[in-house]
């Protein structure tokens, strides 16, 4: 019973990733694509959680924290590039 529920939720998360992928491909402006990529990252965290429940292992718990950190840093870098044109400034005045 629990296994069926976990598989159903994995499929629903995959569908949500597909919808976000449509926004990445179609999105009229650049910020739409960045937000959709961030959403894909967060959905991947929940997919890893569900898969580690299905496989009954704790080996993937670091991956979830890692994906959260990397999604945050990637989104910050993209938004800084969109707003200022440079990612890392040499000297801030």
């Amino acid at each position: 019973m629990m296994n069926i529920l976990l598989h159903i939720s994995a499929v629903i998360i995959a569908v949500s990733i597909l919808i976000a992928l449509y926004r990445v491909a179609k999105g009229p402006s650049m910020p739409d694509r960045v937000i959709a990529l961030d959403m894909i990252g967060i959905n991947l965290i929940s997919l890893v959680a569900v898969v580690s429940l299905i496989l009954e292992t704790t080996a993937f718990f670091e991956v979830m924290l890692l994906l959260g950190i990397l999604a945050f840093i990637g989104t910050v870098a993209f938004s800084k590039f969109i707003e200022k044109g440079v990612v890392i400034e040499r000297k801030r005045d």
Partner: protein
């Protein structure tokens, strides 16, 4: 127009220490569970990259006044040194050993010499990543 990044800078001041603590955890975790020197070094480098994103290159250079090429060289020296150290005990190159020690507060710990080699890997990964990012970021 002068932009104001106060939310990003305040969030960075909190998140930076969480990422650094996670990188140290995943570095020491690597002997028995997933993790190790490579991913720990990458997480430390990404914490410093977040600092560069929220502030600027000059400030990061003032906070961390290392030449990261020297950090890479030091890591390679540590890795070579653990290999050469096994000659002192008359065993082949890069032999590893471990033993159990008892500490006053921490209790019994397993200390392996593979940790010393992992420190070398950690320093090389941090040095190479930050050298690449600083070199790309400097020319505009």
């Amino acid at each position: 127009m002068k932009s104001n990044d106060v939310i990003l800078q305040t969030a960075t001041k909190v998140v930076l220490f969480i990422i650094l603590a996670f990188s140290v955890f995943i570095f020491f975790n690597g002997h028995h569970e997933p993790g190790g020197g490579f991913i720990g070094g990458l997480m430390t480098a990404s914490a410093i990259v977040l600092l560069m994103l929220a502030y600027d290159l000059e400030m990061v250079k003032r906070i961390l006044p290392f030449d990261f090429k020297v950090v890479t060289a030091a890591g390679l020296l540590v890795a070579i040194g653990t290999g050469l150290g096994s000659f002192l005990f008359g065993v082949p190159f890069l032999s590893q050993t471990f033993d159990y020690f008892t500490f006053p507060v921490l209790g019994e710990l397993e200390l392996a010499t593979a940790l010393l080699f992992d420190i070398g890997v950690y320093l090389v990964v941090v040095g190479v990543t930050l050298t690449i990012i600083q070199t790309i970021g400097e020319d505009q």
